[in-house]
Symmetry: C2
Subunit: 330 residues, 2 copies
């Protein structure tokens, strides 16, 4: 029942010319190959009439390139990645590339499988925010020789990376409270082994030690009740400032504080590492450190384009500055 697609050969036969001629003309190289204007017109007409759609696979198979970049994201429902994804796709598109987006859900096994899937599709390059340590990815990346750009989360030393300096930014963050806090609570959620999260935590540790501020850290339970107890417990131990280690954790934390009837910023100050589009609409508005997501996206694509031209340039780590969004919670 499947109506097969119209092929080059169908057009060629309908007009009594060769496939080569049709191919030349439809690729805009008719003049170059001395195809007469009349015949060119005829071919274009016939192609339209038959609703010819070139078979991308046949083309890629022959040409060995796909003009497609794979984009491997950890969590597409996080607005940070959603925005990054949107910009990367737009930018790549403007350069004649398509984007194959996959979402790993921070699941290492799925990440491996999806990366293999992308490589099978002969993508020309890959932009990736790895789940975690990239140890598991190395063998996969060695199966292929396509350029890889790590975005937001670093890969190995000599691979391209575009993102922020999490340690530095975190350590600077401590100085941003209006009044120097006595005891800071850093909060994470889910997997603490994610490199960006542990770097942020390390930055906070270093800076708090230097400035004589006490620092505690909890990893929020996924059980609501337990999470409430965790936070309540820390607050009763004289915590006067909170730094959630990313935007989603910040939202969860704010929900918990609300339920505990803790007032921000009166009872406790809060600065979120990572911004969220809704922070400015909340009461109080949430002070946050904003990662330059559009720059990260744009520069990632730029790096990729360079790599695609000459693959032997050494890896470059590009660290961008964050912006402090001064609002009402600190």
């Amino acid at each position: 029942m499947k109506a097969k697609r119209v092929s080059l050969d169908d057009i060629a036969k309908a007009l009594g010319v060769s496939k080569a001629t049709v191919s030349f003309v439809l690729n805009g190289r008719g003049d170059e190959f001395n195809i007469s204007k009349k015949k060119q017109e005829l071919i274009h007409e016939k192609a339209k009439e038959l609703q010819y759609v070139p078979n991308f696979f046949a083309k890629s198979l022959r040409q060995g390139e796909t003009k497609t970049i794979g984009l491997v994201l950890a969590d597409i429902s996080n607005p940070f990645y959603a925005e990054m994804c949107k910009i990367i796709q737009e930018t790549l598109y403007s350069k004649g590339y398509n984007t194959f987006i996959v979402n790993t859900n921070d699941d290492k096994e799925l990440e491996k499988t999806l990366m293999r899937e992308l490589i099978q599709r002969s993508i020309d390059g890959m932009i990736i925010s790895p789940c975690n340590t990239i140890d598991a990815l190395i063998p996969i990346l060695h199966e292929t020789h396509i350029p890889v750009v790590f975005s937001d989360r670093p890969g190995d030393e000599n691979a391209d990376f575009v993102g922020i300096d999490n340690m530095k930014e975190a350590s600077l963050l401590i100085g941003k409270f209006k009044n120097k806090p006595k005891k800071i609570l850093a909060i994470s959620q889910h997997d603490t082994s994610i490199q960006t999260i542990s770097e942020r935590l390390q930055g906070l540790k270093d800076a708090s030690k230097k400035s004589g501020i006490e620092l505690v850290h909890i990893n929020l339970s996924s059980e609501r009740k337990e999470a409430l107890a965790q936070v309540k417990n820390e607050l009763s131990n004289h915590v006067d400032a909170i730094i959630p280690l990313n935007n989603m954790v910040a939202l969860a934390t704010l929900g918990i504080l609300q339920e505990l009837k803790i007032n921000v910023p009166n009872d406790v100050k809060l600065i979120s590492f990572d911004d969220h589009e809704v922070f400015s609409f909340m009461t109080p508005s949430v002070t946050a450190l904003r990662q330059p997501v559009n720059k990260i996206a744009a520069i990632s694509v730029e790096r990729m384009m360079e790599r695609l031209k000459e693959s032997q340039v050494p890896g470059k780590h590009q660290l961008l500055e964050c912006e402090f969004m001064e609002r009402g919670s600190h």
Copy 2:
């Protein structure tokens, strides 16, 4: 410089067997074709040793199917679509399909181009939330004969559709305020021609007429100052309830109300058509009508799987019920 990939033939030559044999074995059909255990093992070993990755294009070209579904979304940075996207991708993956996601940004031209791109890639089917009226898409969809499922936003009458009954849900929404309002302000933003938005508006119009409630509608300016003036003006005209026509508009509206120092729900009540993960964290928490996004996603995939099996079944419109999230703003 480009190191070409290892092919079936490389393995075949290395072992002195035919390509066919290698293909049979690597596809797990070695027994079926009476390939000896010893040879099978040898082939698997060699494949691993040479890090063989099958060329997906060659395979698809030969087999005529790609096990890939195209997913065309209007705005991936809207959490509703992001979530839908995530679930659709997961569900399709569990059924052995990959997902090719594209983001149209509600741009009709881009939508057409991207759809063509997908069709060129011989996707087996397409799940789509069209920008707008699908008139422009019809010719494109006729270029191909792959199954199409419209998700969240309807396509034409006899195509599959999975979503909600926007008119009905909107008209029911008016009865949800704790106290019957006198004058409701419906707010949209950007393109009012999006079908779901105009259906919601129509539903509100019908219901307000029946229940003797006055209804006004504005389309929010993208100029912040102008938008503030628009809302202020309506409020001074005795509006006592607001219904933003989707979640993003709700966020924008809340921002404006905050800047105008209008208290919700004391000065004005608000119910959002469309939920957002942050609504429960806000002060006051935002009452909203929640679309069953996971059901929409799951059923969309289900429909697609049925279509892929037998393409000649008549189109089905599947309308799901929304859930009223009773919170503090109404």
